[in-house]
């Protein structure tokens, strides 16, 4: 089993303030890793750094993604290489329909891989199967990206896009926050349906309830920019019962 992601001594800063202070993390193919930790620990920052969000400066360390130097790549190149981030706060893009947005994204990825654009019939087929996965109606793709969406709709839209782009490593940044039980189940079912021996995930969350639905192989606890503990599901129980204070290095 080879590592899809290899992070070594990663330090990163936002507006000159160091948030990540030496992260080491290996994720093997097919694994689901849960990343837990108190607010401000650096969980979302790690997702942002992995996907190359502007404003996040890597000051030290390295990241290999499928053997490539991730830090040398643009955000879109990282996407083409198979990295996906489900945003904690998905962005609204007025005037751009989900349909056009995804068509552009799917074809950009194909082009980068030297493939021709999907025929309209094939694209439609793909679209239909993936909207069904997150239980979205056909009308949904005509709406502008995230504009006027409820919290649950936004997160379902993220999982829909993840399904469309078929990433090798997906990062779910608090995808459960603000979801009711039904929406949570739809999202989790969508994620689970995409699990395979070659696909990996990082699930960032505060709550056991998501990890009961998307069962992780490994659990990490992040505090003040460092991974202070790595273990199995028993860690989730400990945090649920005793809080983050019970976990120290």
């Amino acid at each position: 089993m080879s590592n899809i992601l290899q992070i070594r001594n990663l330090h990163a800063a936002v507006e000159g303030k160091e948030i990540l202070r030496g992260i080491d993390l290996d994720i093997a193919e097919g694994q689901v890793h849960a990343l837990m930790g108190p607010n401000g620990a650096g969980k979302s920052t790690l997702g942002a750094v992995l996907t190359g969000r502007p404003g996040y400066e890597v000051t030290e360390g390295s990241i290999l993604f499928k053997g490539q130097d991730l830090l040398a790549m643009t955000p879109e190149e990282r996407s083409w290489a198979g990295l996906f981030l489900s945003f904690q706060y998905p962005i609204e893009i007025p005037g751009v329909s989900i349909n056009n947005f995804m068509k552009a994204a799917v074809n950009a990825k194909r082009k980068a891989a030297g493939q021709s654009e999907l025929s309209p019939a094939d694209y439609l087929k793909l679209l239909k199967s993936k909207t069904a996965l997150v239980q979205m109606k056909g009308e949904f793709i005509k709406r502008d990206v995230n504009v006027g969406f409820s919290g649950g709709e936004k997160k379902r839209n993220e999982i829909f896009q993840m399904a469309m782009l078929d990433p090798d490593l997906s990062i779910l940044d608090e995808t459960d926050s603000g979801l009711d039980v039904d929406a949570l189940k739809i999202v989790a079912d969508g994620v689970n349906a995409l699990r395979s021996p070659s696909k990996s995930s990082i699930v960032i969350t505060h709550y056991k309830r998501l990890l009961d639905l998307i069962v992780p192989d490994v659990v990490h606890v992040l505090k003040a920019g460092r991974i202070v503990r790595t273990g199995g599901r028993e860690l989730v129980e400990q945090i649920e019962n005793q809080g983050y204070d019970s976990i120290n290095d």
Binding site: T74, E76, G95, F101
Partner: protein, 190 residues
Amino acid sequence: MLGRDEVPRRLTLRENDDLHIVFVARPGYSGNVDFEIDIVRPGANLEIAGLYLSNNGDKVNFNVCVRHLVGGSHSRQIFKGIVGDRAAVSFDGLIYVAQDAEKTEAYQENHSILLSDGKVDTRPQLEIYADDVKCSHGATVGSLDEDALFYMRSRGIPFEEARKMQMISFVSDILDRLPESYRNDVISRI
């Protein structure tokens, strides 16, 4: 009415007139665009929209004056555009609500995206002498939204395409007011 047609610049709106104007300043257009509109009967509805795609030293000056001289009428001014490459755009917009012109609703918006070496001056103005009114204006002048740009790129849409998509997104509500054939022509120039 379209920007292609000759636009009457001084107008008086009487009751239940419903007037929609869309003015498009395409790349290469320079000039003064003046609208002076008086609303003199209740029930009138006015919408003036403007779109500017200015570059290469274009100079466009909008001067829009909407006067509500009686109550019970509506107006909306919405001007949006993208300005770069030594172009300079100014927007002077006034909503005037006369004394006793109660139940007036008037809105005014001017939003610009600045690309490198562009310049925008905007002066949205409210001059209001009646109290039972709903009036507001908003103006922004700024760069492309970094977060939206990143969101698109994180989905694999290349930088230049994402930029273009975002510009189209930015002016989409004005584009929606154009007939389809003309709209595609405008989009192709972004």
